[in-house]
């Protein structure tokens, strides 16, 4: 990892360490199911932002294995169904600007990827990574959930967040990252990409004098810079036609850097391996978490 990236992550951890998480948990009677309870979770992240997460906890005695589903680059992170909810705690944390975490900042899509990018202090995506770390930490500290071993999953930006958290937290048991966003890597700055990465090129086209700032202020987030630190096994899926999140060459480099990586390459684009990979991922995670 570069010195600058090291400093970024160290400072991010320090900012989080100084702030109490202030977790509030509220059972959602409407969305709770006969087999599991659904909770609305709120907690504090960097800069005092209050964040929201959906949390589901199976009925019965814990501890339960847990799955943290990091949010993709979208305005919503809802209560996505997974059959694992019947046997595992599932947390869907949001990042700042997403719905229900938007009291201070209402993210725009497209738009968030370059929000405040001219200055590292104001670039929102650097704080989005802090939000991901915070989400993971509050889950581990949550008594209600009785959390056992934890896997992190995510697609697109969520894939990059999952890998970043796994690089910082050795307690992560397994990671399943689909088409992780190349934000921070030079591959993300190429012209002609699809959205969401194309937002960066849009910005540099309109503000050509800020190209260096874009490169500099995103660089610390490059998944390649932290990949070698991941101790958990990683299931990584990429699509050969993906130009909006995880260009193939970037995905292959990423797989090389991750010490224990199972790379699956599919004939997809942003959807990566689609249904086929979803089945593989479910089976892989169940195995890693001892869910049978």
């Amino acid at each position: 990892m570069t010195t600058a990236a090291n400093r970024f992550w160290r400072e991010t951890e320090a900012v989080l360490a100084e702030l109490p998480a202030g977790v509030r948990l509220h059972r959602d009677d409407f969305y709770s199911q006969p087999d599991w309870d659904v909770f609305q979770m709120r907690y504090t992240s960097a800069d005092g932002f209050r964040l929201f997460a959906w949390l589901s906890v199976p009925h019965g005695d814990g501890p339960f294995p847990a799955v943290v589903r990091m949010p993709d680059y979208a305005s919503v992170h809802d209560i996505v169904y997974t059959p694992m909810r019947e046997r595992a705690v599932v947390m869907n944390p949001t990042f700042r600007g997403q719905r229900q975490s938007d009291q201070v900042l209402q993210a725009e899509f497209p738009g968030l990827l370059t929000e405040g990018i001219e200055n590292p202090e104001t670039y929102v995506m650097r704080r989005v990574f802090a939000d991901a770390l915070r989400g993971f930490d509050v889950l581990l500290a949550e008594e209600q959930a009785q959390v056992g071993e934890v896997a992190i999953i995510g697609t697109g930006l969520g894939g990059a967040l999952a890998l970043a958290v796994a690089a910082r937290r050795e307690s992560v048991k397994a990671v399943a990252a689909n088409t992780p966003m190349a934000l921070g890597n030079p591959a993300s700055l190429a012209p002609g990409l699809a959205y969401p990465l194309a937002e960066l090129d849009d910005y540099m086209r309109l503000y050509p004098d800020r190209k260096d700032a874009v490169k500099k202020n995103t660089a610390d987030l490059d998944p390649l810079k932290t990949a070698a630190k991941i101790t958990a096994p990683v299931l990584l899926s990429v699509g050969i036609y993906d130009t909006g999140s995880c260009p193939l060459a970037f995905g292959e480099k990423l797989a090389e850097r991750i010490p224990d990586c199972d790379l699956r390459v599919y004939h997809g684009a942003g959807e990566g391996g689609g249904h086929e990979h979803a089945q593989i991922q479910l089976s892989w995670l169940s195995d890693k978490l001892g869910l049978g």
């Binding site: 409407f30 969305y31 979208a74 169904y81 719905r99 209402q106 497209p110 684009a269 689609g274 249904h275």
Partner: protein, 312 residues
């Protein structure tokens, strides 16, 4: 996984209310009484040498201001053929520069509740599917569908658009809205409906435990005395009841492994179509992730656009 036989064996319990057409005629009449008041503003950040992108606003049911991304070819003054793109349930409308680069105008509608159109109506996600279910008059989707209809009206009002060459597409909720809007606005010349949502509500909420349909199951569990009324309201918003009213050619794409929108229910909408229709089945794909779908959608719409050249 659903099989083709499962699709064919499926029968929905959804029936069409006697006053279905009257209800929608009244709604369209209400819409026509509201001035469109379109505002088109350049979006330099999203524009490039090939495509000019604009943010559009127009007024819809209840006087709500609705936003949309409007992408126009940078070359030429038109009139251009146009595609109206309807959004999914959770996703924000995309900026579609790909088609505009090829000479087709694209309007990508942010229906009420989406980030760009939520100042007065913001039920959230989850939440939209159960918002105002107490009656057909108050149901949130009455407004959402109106917003799509008004998008077609916006395109028809534009001098740079060929009003005889307007096409529609969308996936998931956008697929359902493609069917519904095509029934309400015969000016749409052809459409592609992928993995359509908003079909066969009673069966869809019972078949899977995935969202968004599970919002309806949660509602029924929380308010058991209101389930009957909920299902009555939903009859007026079921794409299966709109399908026979569609006159233009229509494609329905179905993923047989779809765990969000049951394939059987999408097939019921396809079956209910009475005009020219085409079925695309994707055996090894789930909701929204058939690798072949985007290419097929693009090719089919391009062929329809080409067919319509000189015929309007």
């Amino acid at each position: 996984m659903a099989t083709e036989q499962d699709l064919q064996d499926f029968t929905t319990q959804v029936t069409c209310p006697d006053d279905f057409d009257d209800f929608w005629a009244v709604t369209l009449e209400m819409l026509s009484a509201i001035s469109l008041k379109p505002v088109v503003s350049a979006e330099p950040l999203r524009s490039n040498d090939d495509v000019h992108v604009f943010n559009v606003t127009y007024l819809s049911l209840g006087g709500l201001e609705i936003s949309a991304w409007y992408s126009l070819p940078a070359q030429g003054n038109g009139p251009f053929p146009a595609v109206i793109n309807f959004p999914g349930y959770k996703s924000e409308p995309p900026v579609r520069r790909d088609w505009a680069k090829k000479g087709v105008a694209v309007l990508s509608v942010a229906v009420r509740g989406k980030l760009k159109s939520n100042s007065e109506f913001n039920p959230g996600y989850p939440g939209l599917l159960t918002s105002g279910l107490e009656s057909k008059e108050t149901y949130g989707y009455r407004g959402v569908i109106s917003d799509c209809v008004r998008g077609v009206d916006f395109l028809r009002s534009r001098p740079e658009i060929d009003p005889g060459r307007i096409f529609a597409c969308g996936t998931s909720q956008g697929g359902g809205l493609t069917l519904i809007t095509s029934a309400l606005r015969p000016e749409i010349k052809a459409g592609v409906s992928g993995y359509p949502f908003l079909c066969c509500y009673p069966e869809s909420m019972a078949m899977f435990r995935s969202y968004p349909y599970d919002e309806l199951a949660c509602y029924a569990r929380a308010y058991p005395d209101q389930e009957e009324q909920m299902l009555e309201t939903l009859r007026y918003f079921d794409a299966v009841n709109f399908a026979p009213r569609i006159k233009c050619p229509m494609v329905v794409g179905i993923a047989l492994e779809d765990e969000v929108c049951p394939p059987e229910t999408s097939y019921a909408a396809y079956q209910a179509l009475t005009g020219n229709k085409e079925l695309w089945l994707f055996p090894n794909s789930g909701h929204g992730n058939a690798h072949e779908y985007p290419g097929q959608e693009r090719a089919w719409l391009e062929s329809q656009i080409e067919l319509s050249a000189g015929g309007s």
